[in-house]
Amino acid sequence: MKTPREILLARQRAAEPKLDALTRSVVNNIVASSAHPSFSLRSLPRSFWREVILPSRRIWAGLAAAWVVIVVANLDFRVGSPRLTASISPAAARNFMSIREQENIVTAFNSLPEPAPAEPPKSRGPQPRTELRTEFYTI
């Protein structure tokens, strides 16, 4: 009589030499890496790729694809592009044209030469108080 554990382990005992070799190779790698610390500027790109990019490569690929879509859409639907004007309704096109005209007017105004500075107003001295009083009596 055997327990399920004994049965399961006994069936795979033949794999033990290979597992021993595997364990030795992993431990040797530990020894090697502790003898020669792996951090260096030269190995940084490779370790960045291995530690950061590779484990979540699908996420990175998804992000890259999203950026490509955003850039393409941005280029394709830039204001005034033929594709955009073809895809919008007539009313929207009229609005778009009026905005365009307003933009042109603003641009034209901006391109006008600067007006000459106005002459400063002539300064007049204060009138004598007696003169004012005279006018009052005249009315």
């Binding site: 327990t3 554990r5 049965i7 399961l8 382990l9 794999a15 290979k18 992993v26 530990i30």
Partner: protein
């Protein structure tokens, strides 16, 4: 019987002691191999999975908070690697999402289920017939006697699901043992 409170040199391994790593790997190499083999059924793939698990363990041991959970942590890594392998092979694990219904009670010890020599082949046949999630749970229960909570952590399922899967698997096994 699996020693639950065996002293494992996890702290020494954390400080980079190769001898400690060797001890840890030697302790778990066969159980991990058995577990992965019964899920992927290919010797070379299983060896690759065990190696990848060991390498991942050396790199990420810092993320293990409780040294006593080293075993279940290691099985969690190999379990994830098995799932990644299934996905890569296109066998998207719809079966992994299967959930058996009725929960049962688990007072019985996995070591108590003694199997006669002439029943061994039937036991293995039954094991292979189980859907992968049930098989995984039963293997973890038998190989390392992990608790429901530990199995739940390893398989990233909730404890209720693990309990019901274990119940379903053990019920099937019991039926077999009664028949033969």
């Amino acid at each position: 019987m699996v020693a639950q409170d065996e002293q494992l040199p996890v702290a020494q391994a954390r400080s980079g002691d190769p001898a400690a790593w060797e001890r840890l790997f030697h302790r778990y190499q066969l159980p991990l191999y058995v577990y992965a083999f019964e899920l992927v059924h290919d010797e070379q793939t299983t060896l690759d999975l065990v190696q990848e698990t060991f390498i991942a363990a050396t790199r990420h041991l810092a993320s293990l908070r409780e040294d006593a959970k080293f075993g279940s942590w290691l099985f969690g890594i190999v379990h994830q690697k098995c799932i990644q392998r299934w996905r890569k092979q296109g066998r998207e694990s719809a079966a992994l999402e299967q959930v058996a219904s009725a929960p049962g009670d688990f007072t019985d010890d996995p070591g108590e289920a003694l199997i006669r020599r002439e029943q061994e082949a039937e036991f293995m046949t039954l094991l292979h017939k189980l859907p992968p999630p049930h098989r995984a749970v039963l293997l973890l229960h038998f190989i390392e006697e992990f608790s429901i909570d530990e199995i739940a952590r390893i398989t990233e399922a909730n404890p209720g699901t693990v309990k019901s899967r274990l119940h379903y698997a053990k019920k099937s096994l019991k039926k077999l043992l009664e028949q033969t």
